[in-house]
């Protein structure tokens, strides 16, 4: 455990990617199986320990520390595991328990006995070990290492091709003994599972100025639909629907699964479609995050997949082909499978980038959030690289709002007032219309933090009420009617795009401006 705790500490304080990779490689080299595989799974988020919830940890803390003092400490530290690790009474003697023993205990202890077992472990650990142990127990290490970076380190450690590691990753399970064996000169593991998830190809943002640097003839464009990106796989009778991060959401979408009557892997957008009408994102949201879905819900919110790409078809890997060629095959494939729930995202007809700009400015459907631009010759590559695919999202909506409340941020922003509630005028009163906690630069964050500290009128626990003085420009992607909000509207993806020090608070927007934006 101590070696793992040291690894986490080093990763946390090493800003450079290469430095992190070196620390990971050293750890893989110095640590035996199965500890290193469990550590890798913990970092990639694949360890799957689910029994230890934040509320269980809060309960443990409450037995040892006054809840108010704990709440104040958590508010300051900004991380639950770290708060408990620091606040726990120091151990008189510490023991270094092997990582596999702790993982085994966390997975196999009956839920009723788990709190006591965890408390006992905390009693014999150093603060650093307590932190690593609690991070492990709750998942979500947040040490600034993505799953991809961890796999890069592993590929680097064994001089393995990263693409091959990514490819078989989803078929492997912790503690990855076969993967480490391969890294140390053994056989490459078989991609064991049927219907595996393949790394998804992502795009980078662009705009007209950047596009003018590219040759129009080399690209095609299509609408960017406002649903969620999915990968539908049907492989020798096994059918799966994955999100773009590889989460299996098959259970929530049996209607789509039924329609996967083929053998292949398709990439597309998951939408709700009633007859010919694509429903807004809010409708899709009602079906996300469910373990099961009722027949009624399937009828009222029918799922649909609009296909962007094909990765595998009837045993052939098509990813190395140019996009234009894959697209030709897709036309045929969609006709052949002939499923009303699956259709093809149409290509756009445009002669110049300015034509495309005009299409983007006036899309034919409200559920379009911009355009996608793809190089005709691009192979299907997992990951986000600049060049082959671009996204050009529609311009955000903007309002000028007044900051009303602030709260300290968590994680990287811990200690800064970075979570803001903002409002607009309804006659003489401000009515809150949303919350934002990003969009500003680090310097602007410091400015806002200073403003909060100097202009607090009241505090409610961690929340500070502010003098109505600071105007910010808020950008957002859409507006929904919401009976749950006092203002009657809910913003999608709001962020603070600019601080309007040039604008007095009285000149911020009125609530009517927002109401007028509701179509």
């Amino acid at each position: 455990m101590r070696a793992f705790a040291t690894l986490l500490e080093r990763l946390a304080f090493t800003p450079q990617r290469n430095g992190k990779i070196i620390h990971l490689k050293q750890y893989f080299a110095a640590t035996p199986d199965p500890a290193r595989g469990l550590a890798l799974a913990a970092i990639t988020g694949d360890l799957g320990l689910k029994a230890v919830t934040p509320s269980l940890l809060r309960g443990l803390a409450a037995e040892r520390v006054d809840p108010e003092l704990f709440a104040m400490s958590y508010d300051f530290v900004g991380d639950l595991a770290e708060t408990i690790a620091l606040i726990w009474q120091p151990a008189s003697t510490t023991t270094d328990v092997p990582l596999p023993e702790l993982v085994d205990e966390l997975s196999n202890t009956p839920k009723s006995q788990l709190p006591a077992r965890i408390a006992n472990r905390l009693d014999t650990m150093s603060a650093n070990d307590r932190y690593a142990y609690l991070k492990l127990a709750t998942g979500g290490l947040r040490v600034g290492v993505s799953g991809r970076l961890a796999r890069m380190a592993l590929a680097d450690f064994g001089s393995l091709p990263l693409a091959e590691v990514e490819e078989i990753w989803h078929g492997l399970t912790p503690p990855y003994a076969n993967l480490f064996a391969w890294a140390e000169g053994g056989e490459k593991p078989e991609a064991a599972a049927h219907a595996p998830f393949r790394p998804v190809m992502l795009s980078t943002p662009t705009d007209l100025a950047a596009l003018n640097g590219y040759d129009r003839a080399e690209y095609v464009a299509e609408w960017k639909w406002d649903g969620i990106r999915v990968q539908a796989v049907s492989d020798q009778g096994t059918r799966r629907l994955y999100t773009r991060t590889g989460d299996d959401i098959s259970a929530a979408f049996p209607d789509i699964i039924d329609a996967l009557d083929f053998d292949g892997t398709l990439d597309g957008e998951l939408l709700i479609k009633r007859d010919d009408i694509i429903a807004p994102f809010g409708d899709l949201q009602k079906r996300l995050g469910r373990k099961t879905v009722s027949r009624k819900m399937q009828e009222s919110h029918p799922a649909h997949m609009r296909v962007y790409d094909v990765l595998m078809w009837e045993g052939h890997d098509l990813r190395a082909l140019p996009f234009a060629e894959r697209r030709g095959q897709m036309d045929q494939i969609i006709k052949t499978i002939n499923q009303p729930r699956i259709d093809l995202s149409p290509l756009l007809d445009f002669a110049t980038w300015d034509d495309l700009a005009a299409l983007r400015a006036d899309p034919p459907d409200a559920v379009i959030e911009g355009v996608m631009i793809k190089r005709r010759d691009s192979p299907y590559l997992g990951g986000r690289m600049k060049g082959p695919w671009f996204k050009w999202k529609r311009d955000p909506m903007l309002i000028d709002a007044v900051l009303m409340y602030a709260q300290r941020g968590h994680g990287k922003r811990s200690g800064f007032y970075s979570d803001f509630t903002f409002g607009v005028w309804d006659a003489d009163a401000l009515v809150p219309v949303g919350k934002a906690y990003f969009g500003f630069t680090d310097d602007e964050l410091k400015e806002l933090d200073r403003f909060v500290r100097n202009n607090t009128t009241e505090t409610f626990g961690p929340v500070r009420a502010l003098k109505p003085l600071k105007v910010v420009e808020v950008a957002f992607e859409g507006l929904n009617r919401s009976p749950r909000h006092k203002s009657g509207v809910a913003m999608r993806f709001p962020r603070i795009s600019r601080i309007r020090d040039d604008k007095p608070a009285a000149e911020a927007d009125q609530i009517q401006t927002l109401r007028d934006m509701l179509n």
């Binding site: 946390a12 304080f13 090493t14 800003p15 520390v65 006054d66 108010e68 003092l69 704990f70 104040m72 400490s73 300051f76 530290v77 900004g78 991380d79 770290e82 708060t83 620091l86 606040i87 120091p90 994680g411 990287k412 922003r413 811990s414 200690g415 800064f416």
Partner: protein, 336 residues
């Protein structure tokens, strides 16, 4: 009938003692100020008269020039100021730092701690517990998550890092008054007897410490006028944290950025500052020392000046102790 709580009141300029006619660590210029220690947010220039320890007066003169105040009075034993008697007692925070004890014969005694620490500090005199009716305490690290570790253990981490990365310079961020000299003394205690390079902003205060009998050893300016970049490989350089963002830091070979501060206890704080090697070394009391001090002195009332006062007030409430927040504005919350 007057009580000990009449000894002090809050005014816009800061904490005021009506029967004594003076302020303690005022944040704005006033006629008469008693100053606990030389940190800039407590010791400001432009008062009519200042009473402080001779070291604090010297430090203020170094920082602001000889004309930092109209007149100076060195604190020396118990002195009568109008209707009260005042005396200064070591606070263990930085060189010259003092607690101020105010006694009024009919109402009682108040002690204003200023900033203080109870960890041994080779760069200044240790804290002296003073019984009192009213304890006016700081609360910079008043949360139960703050337990400062043994500072020599933190210094050992620097020395281990130098061993692991002998080609890299180790840059330690430390505030110019107090922290820098303490870190140097800790390095000396840990056996680092070679030269230590210092940023120009630390020079005069380090010289002053040496003149006051704090043996800082071989200090050299961190300049490369006559040398080359690689001369700093494996060396220790101290500078004020503000210098690290400037181009100054670029003159050193692949520096390991270290920062000596109590705030380094919290990982996100260290990461926000881009620190690679956080050193938890604080010149303030941590939670156990703070609560222990209140228990030990057992004042009738505890008043909390600046920092995380809410948590300390909560603790006092749980202990059945009378306490109140002063919510003094103008002190830097984050300096350590």
């Amino acid at each position: 009938m007057s009580t000990a709580s009449d000894l002090l009141e809050i005014r816009p300029e800061g904490l005021y003692c009506p029967p004594g006619g003076f302020y303690i660590d005022p944040v704005k210029p006033v006629d008469k100020a008693l100053i606990t220690h030389g940190h800039a947010d407590h010791a400001r220039a432009g008062h009519g008269a200042v009473m402080a320890t001779s070291q604090t007066l010297d430090i203020m003169a170094i920082r602001y020039g000889e004309d930092f105040t109209g007149s100076r009075q060195i604190a020396n034993g118990a002195q009568v100021v109008n209707d009260v008697s005042v005396s200064f007692h070591p606070a263990g925070h930085v060189l010259g730092s003092a607690q101020i004890k105010i006694t009024h014969k009919s109402t009682g005694t108040a002690v204003i701690t200023g900033d203080y620490s109870r960890q041994p500090n080779p760069a200044c005199a240790p804290f002296e517990p003073i019984p009192c009716d009213i304890l006016v305490t700081e609360a910079t690290f008043a949360l139960p998550v703050f337990r400062h570790p043994d500072p020599l253990g933190e210094i050992a981490r620097v020395l281990a890092s130098i061993e692991a990365f002998p080609d890299r310079a180790h840059l330690i961020g430390a505030y110019a008054l107090g922290k820098a000299q303490r870190v140097i003394m800790l390095l000396r205690m840990a056996g680092w007897d070679g030269p230590i390079f210092i940023h120009g902003a630390l020079q005069r205060l380090c010289d002053y410490h040496i003149s006051q009998g704090v043996p800082l050893g071989d200090l050299r300016p961190a300049t490369i006028d006559r040398g080359k970049k690689s001369d700093f490989a494996g060396q220790i350089i101290l500078g004020p944290p503000s210098a690290f963002a400037a181009t100054w830091a670029q003159r050193f070979p692949d520096p390991v950025i270290c920062f000596a501060s109590g705030w380094m206890q919290v990982r996100a704080r260290a990461r926000q500052r881009g620190v690679e090697l956080p050193l938890i070394i604080s010149d303030h009391v941590d939670w156990p020392d703070l609560t222990q001090t209140i228990t030990e002195l057992n004042p009738a009332e505890t008043w909390v000046t600046h920092g995380r006062e809410d948590a300390l007030l909560r603790w006092c409430e749980l202990q059945g102790r009378k306490a109140r927040p002063l919510r003094l504005l103008g002190y830097e919350e984050e300096q350590d």
